[in-house]
Amino acid sequence: MIKNSILVVVFLITTNSFAQFYKTYDWKETPEIHQLSKEEQKEPSVGILKKHVVEYAKSMFGDLLKVYETDHTITRVNNDKGIAKHNTVYIPMYEVINVLDIKARTINAEGKVTVLNKDNIKEVKNVDEYGDFKIFAIEGVEKNSEIEVLYTVEKEYDMHGQQNIQGEYPIREAQFLFITGDANAQIKAYRTESKFESVTINNTIGKLLTIKNIPAMVEEEYSTPDANKIAVAYQCFPKEQNITQEMFWSNVVNNVGPQFFPEEPITVVTDDLPNVTSGKTNLSVFEKANLLDDYIKTNFTIVKNNNAELSDVNYILKNKSASTFGILKAYAQYLKALDIKYEIVITANRYLKKFDPDFFNPNQLQEFLIYLPTEEKYIATDRLEYRVGEAPFNILGNYGLYITDSLEYYFSKIVQTDPNFSSINRVMDITFDEELQSATLKQSQEYTGHWSATSRAILNFYPEQSIKEYEDYLTGSGIEDKVVESYEALNTELLQLEYNKPFKTSSTITSESLLEEVGDSYLFQIGKVIGTQSELYQETKRVNPIEMQYPNQYDYTITIHIPKGYTAEGLEELNIDKSYKSVKGNKLCKFESSYKVEGNKVIITIQEFYKSNEYDLNRYEEFREVINAASDFNKTAILLKAIE
């Protein structure tokens, strides 16, 4: 009896002083179906409520912090697509210590409620790189139902966290509630005008961000939608600690940095150097670095699993296997041995995350590069298709944390140093057979920069079908009946000792469909010879800022040999001039085509370039005009008119 009462007392105390939010939060006893506006009815699904709660609470004993996360969503599904998007739920178990509750229910249009049978929640262990999950399918969903899911998990204490607020579907009301009591906490919201308000929840201080009517994040051409969602990032640490952003960054640099800058290389590495340089001496820094890059990419493998040893330098050098993090240590050893000055760059894929130097969030430390300051070039350590050059395009434009060999750090935007890195140069000669049934296109092309990296990657790494498709592209896409008479590719090897050596092709194709009979004359679909060009559509207002893959330039010279007995007419439409100018008047991107007639030849010159990979969203229409100009050219045709 006495024992029992003590238990009761303890229990009472804990509930009183540590009444965590989730214990008092619940869904409405009876759900109700919400009225949708006409616009909302057109959507596959609509988020009625998307609420996420993060609570840092003191544990019962001592000041150790615990983390509770509650997620509550109500989502209306209007059609099959909406159902398919929301009828399966995956709850990641990363850092989760306890699942406190998971519940879900559905209310259909007639008001019938179906509650999830918890026995149907399945556990899935060690999924790919993502860890464990609890998964379940929502029960009782029909068109026009509302799905409600509410769960709370207790997580390991982590000072940092982040949460996406925006979805791929519109949300009426989203809330992020951040409860931290008297702990030290900071939170930052991204890409929203809404502000946090201070709230008191169960006598504990918190901050609440409420955002109403969030539009759906949509996939658009030249954009990074996943990285553009409204999101929050936060930090929380015990009240006696006061950690600044600088301290977080220094901490990373001091922890990680020394591992990347060995005092002396290990003997196996110095012994291995002749294999890297093939015994050559008098190599430039670029040549050494390039040979090393190739050596590691052809002798080491990056492994993605949970083996902790993949970050251990001795293990890596013995097994020639490393994690994406560990491979830097191998590079560091060899760079040191080759006496090459380098810096380590930690950043993020700009398609997934915009790196924020002002707010420390370990989630943005996803990608690693090595920077060679003397060369102003990068090594993309986990990208097999790149050799020493510019940063990979999925990183270009993001900020990065640069760590120097003296373990100092700075932030810099990762930019392309060589403005003309990526280009395509084409020279084309077009002739016709005597009957004017078919055209012959003789073409030589040069690809540099990212274009050449991609080309080499496809030809070297991809399966036959993809290579076939790529060769189709290289010999002229969109010419439906073309016959490839000859095709040759040069400089296909990934390792090129010369910096930015072009990948080259030469090909000859014939096509009948390019010529259309019109009486005794012929229409020649000249535009089609440049291949299918993408057209930017915009029926709705553009959402995402404009981000291209990378700056690049196209230079084409097309010579048409007019057959005897014919003249070329309708050439005027070959003149196109569209551009987007900077405030100072420089052309930042353009499409220009023009022609001249020399004897029986029509010579067309095209220049198209994009000097930057980022353009102002407010000037989207101008950008679109340049992009679509190539597509306009693609529609041009000239008349080969019989001389009477």
């Binding site: 658009e220 036959e464 439906e480 009979e517």
Partner: protein, 627 residues
């Protein structure tokens, strides 16, 4: 004599250098040995695998990533794996193996797991060695063996050793062009079958081709029966045994609380008197209300979940929907059967392959007034009366009762059932082409349009989606006033209407304007690359496209000439395009048909002939001249 010996010695070498030069990775060896032991009516089955691969270049080091799959019916044991570096004569063991799961797009929950690891220190010249055992827990799942794989293999061997009183069946596919050796040996109480083949080429898939099982040389093994004291005990002797097993699985379906299901069936059909309409109403209800969510969990992957729970939860996989239909249909007096079937990806017959490998799908079959109708509710948009497109030509195994079954072939659906009719009125305003178009789609043409629109449109606007998929005119075609009617799973045609403005399409030079009436160029990109193409071309369904296009000659113009009639007529595919002129209106009639589900390699030339004729026909423009 001597010469011949030298020649045979040289021959493999020549074959080797021919086959494998230009390869990045090859298998030196892929051997599988199946050991079957019988102990008082229980089978112990162990498969032992022994593989060696070699990196000829450093291009495809990703072959160092190994993944060995298993599920509730199998276990993986004794993995020994290492990398061997011949130059250094060094062996580096694999020291880390993880058990992993993966999320599959098509299957929500699966008990499929894998042992994954990466061979260390691979580079050009490195060899990888792998040995492991797979314990087969059910004698019905001996599986299949592929004589070829993604890359070439020098030595391929399959052997199976079993007690003499066990009878093993086997059937091979696509092996006719390869010199596969077969050997039968008897040692003591055991028999061994061995198949070997050297220098097998690699097999890589192709776009728009049949599934790999149509061309990859492979063999399916199964235990037919065993004798015990003069009595023969069947395992999978023929399709009867397979059905007997399926029948025991059906016995374990939970049939509780069916009242609810029956009530729904009654309610849906209460105002309908004809059986056919009742069946249609029930089928449409399941299509509309049960969402496809697939589970694969041991035997649970074979036994339908109770109809009442599927009805409550509103989701299920193929067998759940088939069983729900079974309960609902029979309750309202419609003769209906649970039906096992393989999709077109599996080129097998129940009569030849009496193992669970033969099928991968379950549907329902109803018989109404001697009419057999296949119902596949996993296809949410297929109209009642048509099977799902991917089950055409396949054998359906109907469970009649506990002991009897019927095998019926799902008929290929006639091309007249899947028709797109396109009516276009084209006018010219200055140089802008304006079109008023109506598309009416039936059968699989309708099904495909609706499924693609529902699941593949993504974030594209309707205008952009139609522009990129229908590809009418050019990619600057502007769509306005789009309407869709009968966007459903009913037998009524889907009607799609819109107006088009096509910029930069008509071409004017001096006083002449050229306009091509083939704004829709169906099939123009379907030429087969005969030189490189290896496998037959797959067509999802037979279809017809009928176009009627009228062009109103603008005032102040006259037409100079109109193209002649063009015809390509073949039993399997063809077209007919004709033009006529009446007053100031030119009308084009165009019919395109594909009356086959597959174009074999021997028909490639004919097919290309057809496509070339068609693209030539598409080139014919109309010229009008200012008066």
């Amino acid at each position: 004599m001597k010469n011949i010996v030298v020649f045979t010695l040289l021959f493999p070498f020549l074959m080797f250098s021919q086959n494998f030069s230009g390869e990045d990775f090859i298998y030196l060896k892929r051997h599988e040995h199946i050991d079957i032991k019988l102990n008082k009516g229980n089978f112990d089955i162990t498969k032992s695998f022994s593989e060696q691969g070699k990196f000829l270049t450093a291009n495809k080091l990703y072959f160092a990533n190994e993944s060995i799959g298993f599920d509730g019916f199998s276990a993986i044991e004794d993995i020994k794996a290492y990398t061997y570096l011949p130059e250094e004569n060094k062996k580096i063991e694999v020291d880390y193996i993880e058990t992993k799961r993966a999320f599959d797009n098509g299957i929500f929950y699966s008990d499929q797991e894998s042992k994954t690891f990466t061979f260390p220190a691979v580079k050009a010249g490195a060899e990888i060695h792998l040995e492991y055992k797979e314990i087969v827990k059910d004698p019905r799942f001996l599986g299949l063996f592929r004589f070829g794989t993604f890359v070439p293999t020098e030595s391929t061997k399959l052997s199976i050793e079993f007690p003499k009183n066990v009878s093993i069946g086997y059937i091979d596919f696509n092996t006719q062009d390869y010199p596969i050796n077969f050997k039968e040996e008897i040692k003591g109480n055991n028999k061994t079958y061995t198949w070997t083949v050297n220098n097998m080429k690699g097999f890589q898939g192709e776009a728009q081709s049949e599934s790999v099982l149509y061309y990859l040389p492979h063999i399916i093994l199964y235990i037919k029966n065993y004798e015990d004291n003069g009595k023969t005990n069947n395992i999978l002797n023929d399709v009867n045994d397979l059905y007997q097993w399926y029948s025991t699985l059906v016995d374990s379906i939970d049939e509780n609380n069916l009242e609810k299901v029956h009530a729904v069936a009654k309610d849906i059909t209460k105002s309908i008197s004809s059986k056919r309409e009742k069946a249609e109403a029930i089928f449409n209800w399941v299509q509309d209300n049960i969402t496809y969510v697939a589970f694969e969990d041991g035997l649970g992957g074979f036994i339908p979940r109770s109809a009442s729970s599927v009805c409550d939860k509103r989701y299920g996989d193929c067998k759940d929907m088939a069983n729900l239909l079974y309960e609902m249909l029979n309750h309202v007096g419609i003769e209906s059967y649970r039906t096992w079937i393989g999709t077109r990806d599996r080129p097998y017959s129940y009569w030849e392959v009496p193992t669970p490998i033969v099928d991968n799908h379950m549907i329902n079959t109803v018989i109404i007034e001697n009419d057999t109708i296949f119902l596949d509710a996993t296809d949410s948009y297929v109209p009642f009366g048509m099977p799902s497109a991917f089950t055409q030509t396949k054998e359906a195994l109907l469970g009649i009762d506990k002991d009897s079954f019927k095998v019926i072939k799902v008929p290929v659906q006639d091309m007249d059932k899947s028709v797109s009719e396109i009516h276009s009125i084209i006018t010219l305003e200055d140089d802008l082409v304006k079109v008023d178009e109506t598309r009416s789609l039936t059968g699989y043409e309708k099904v495909d349009f609706i499924s693609d629109y529902t699941y593949k449109k993504g974030d594209k606007t309707e205008e952009e989606y139609l522009n990129t998929t229908l590809a009418i005119g050019n990619n600057k075609t502007n769509y306005i006033n789009i309407t869709k009617t009968n966007f459903d799973n009913k037998n009524t045609p889907l009607v799609l209407k819109y107006n088009l403005n096509i910029d930069s399409y008509a071409k004017s030079v001096a006083n002449k304007t050229f306009i091509n009436l083939d704004i829709d160029r169906t099939l123009s990109q379907s030429k087969i690359d005969i030189e490189d193409r290896k496998f037959s071309k797959k067509i999802d369904h037979k279809f017809k496209k009928k176009f009627v296009t009228t062009f109103k000659i603008p005032e102040g113009y006259r037409s100079i000439d109109i193209p002649e009639e063009l015809v390509y007529d073949n039993e399997k595919f063809g077209f007919k395009i004709s033009y006529s002129k009446e007053g100031n209106v030119i009308t084009q009639h165009k019919l395109i048909y594909v009356n086959t589900l597959s174009v074999d390699n021997s028909e490639f030339e004919t097919w290309n002939d057809f496509i070339q004729s068609l693209t030539r026909a598409y080139k014919k423009s109309i010229t009008i001249e200012r008066i």
